[in-house]
Point group: C2
Chain length 127, copies 2
């Protein structure tokens, strides 16, 4: 049960998107990489997290529980990053992105995922 931040981020993306295909894209992973990660999560936890169906996936009860905790942990990690950022000495840069709610939810993730992967030294602060 590793559940590193990438696992949690991917799982939430898949939960939100309703399919591994779109969730993988939102998380900046290829579809097979995402499928493998999710499979490993289920295997290592000994529990099914997703019900695979024709039009994507749905969360099992355990999946819902995981999503709940994953959201809490993500929030906590964001707070950690934020507080740590206040001590930063300028090596790091933060880029604030402004967008309305619809654009944020529908367009930003897939647009930014790849870019963020290519620019790890820059934190994105979506407001």
């Amino acid at each position: 049960m590793r559940f590193d931040p990438t696992d949690l981020r991917l799982f939430l993306a898949v939960a939100d998107a309703g399919s591994i295909t779109h969730g993988a894209a939102d998380a900046g992973l290829s579809l097979p990489a995402a499928s493998e990660r999710l499979g490993d999560m289920e295997l290592s936890g000994g529990v099914r997290l997703l019900d695979r169906g024709r039009r994507g996936v749905a969360l099992t009860e355990a999946g819902e529980a995981l999503a709940h905790h994953a959201r809490l942990i993500s929030r906590q990690m964001a707070m950690m990053r934020g507080e740590l950022g206040e001590y930063a000495t300028g090596l790091r840069s933060t880029l604030r992105v402004l967008a309305n709610t619809a654009a944020m939810a529908e367009l930003m993730p897939q647009r930014l995922a790849g870019w963020m992967g290519a620019n790890p030294r820059v934190d994105l602060d979506l407001k």
Copy 2:
């Protein structure tokens, strides 16, 4: 700023032990591996986390902040594992270890670290 669970676990071990040498052992890592991880954490965060001194290390202000959040996140992750464990289908096993407080703090970490690394399918529940 990756800060995966291993990073957090290591940092807390180092914070508790007061030296990278002993913290690395408690976290089940070699000293150089731990040193590199900590250095990368400081580099990627753009902030010093540890003051290196003659007899080990001390946390900077930023380090204290990180330790605080790391403890919260670790707790949250433990709760997540616990709840997920209730859904598990028997593939995984949990081993409960009983020890008094002093032994828990002083002896258990270094004894168990290696063993846990070699037995990833077993969760240790230290009570």
